[in-house]
């Protein structure tokens, strides 16, 4: 069957076909969800090449585990969880190779941002979409991977605290602390970027 034949087929039917070994159906699934899966990997890893590699690995894994997909969630959600787990594994491996970051020490001792004055003006008001993305990208890049991951899982994946805690293997208290810190630091970083532009 040719790839084009699947363009109007639902995800559920494509999954069923792919489970029977239909590679063209699987390719259609890849084409439909590849940007979202890549975006999730990029948000967590902050590296284009790594995000491409991990998203490819996620697709290979999903083909191998397709029989395990029972349709309890959407295919897109199931795929996203696979790429998130791969990113977390990669980040854990990386963490083992480096020393504890300053951000982590801040988290334990209270964090500077927690005590900073509240940012009262929305620093991203009236920004063009491209400029806004660039600014957010820069701010996300300055977070430690633990804080960024919690932020990504909560803001983009809509995970509850307990689900994030389970995924990351930490306590709900740690999730709350990291999420609060990440949000505040994002606000401060975005405000600082705006102030720098005004100078």
């Amino acid at each position: 069957m040719k790839t084009n034949d699947h363009s109007s087929t639902s995800d559920e039917r494509l999954v069923e076909a792919a489970k029977k070994g239909d590679m063209a159906a699987f390719e259609e699934l890849v084409a439909r969800h590849r940007d979202k899966i890549y975006a999730r990997a990029f948000s967590m890893m902050r590296n284009e090449d790594e995000a491409v590699d991990l998203s490819q690995e996620a697709w290979v894994k999903s083909w191998q585990r397709l029989q395990q997909f029972q349709g309890d969630s959407s295919f897109g959600t199931w795929m996203t969880r696979i790429v998130i787990n791969l990113c977390l594994d990669q980040l854990r491996r990386r963490k083992r190779q480096r020393t504890e970051s300053i951000e982590e020490m801040d988290e334990e001792s209270g964090g500077v941002e927690r005590q900073m004055p509240v940012v009262t003006v929305n620093p991203t008001e009236r920004l063009e979409r491209g400029e806004l993305r660039k600014r957010i990208d820069g701010a996300l890049g300055q977070l430690s991977h633990e804080h960024r991951t919690v932020l990504v899982l909560h803001e983009f994946e809509d995970m509850e605290y307990k689900e994030i805690a389970r995924t990351m293997g930490c306590s709900i208290g740690t999730v709350m602390s990291r999420l609060f810190y990440a949000r505040r630091k994002m606000a401060v970083l975005l405000a600082n970027l705006k102030n720098e532009e005004l100078k």
Binding site: E27, V30, A31, A39, I136, E160, M176, S177
Partner: protein
């Protein structure tokens, strides 16, 4: 300055993670505290700013190129288990058949020795010398099938000439 626990509670309120009584409690707090309202607004802004961020991220590879890499890897991995299986089958045969054939050979040799005429073991008595790890110590075993008895005799090789000069092993008897 809002306390740490109160800050977290405010965030949990924003994320819908509080129980009903706690939600009411935070609402009342917000109604009377301007600083709390400002912090809540900041947290809300960050969430709103991030909302559309991922939508603009596109995979920097063409559909064909991206898929061909995935397809190659799938095919490679599907081939890999088959070759691994054939290797492991050979490994299994080598691992298990070699010792089994060794044991079979030893059994045949032993059977030949035991059934040969003139061998004491053929009459229910077996006398044999054991190989020892140390060159200084030697050992003999004596096995009487009728009496269901096995004796192991250790001796110093330096004294062996004296020992054999006094008499034969068979005359020593069990101790």
């Amino acid at each position: 300055m809002i306390e740490r626990e109160a800050q977290f509670k405010l965030m949990a309120y924003l994320d819908g993670e509080l129980s009903e009584p706690e939600t009411v409690e935070v609402r009342e707090w917000l109604a009377r505290d301007e600083e709390a309202r400002a912090l809540l607004a900041e947290l809300q802004n960050t969430g709103a700013v991030l909302a559309g961020f991922e939508a603009g991220l596109k995979l920097p590879e063409t559909r064909e190129f991206f898929w061909s890499t995935i397809q190659r890897e799938i095919e490679r991995q599907e081939r890999a288990p088959a070759s691994a299986e054939s290797v492991s089958l050979w490994g299994w045969l080598r691992q298990h058949l070699a010792p089994v054939s060794g044991v079979a050979l030893l059994t045949c040799l032993l059977a030949l020795l035991l059934t040969s005429p003139g061998n004491p073991a053929a009459n229910g008595v077996q006398l044999s010398e054991l190989e020892m790890a140390s060159d200084d110590v030697g050992a003999y075993t004596y096995h009487d099938q009728q009496e269901k008895m096995r004796m192991v005799w250790l001796y110093d090789r330096e004294d062996v000439s004296q020992f054999t000069g006094r008499g034969s092993l068979a005359s020593m008897g069990p101790e």
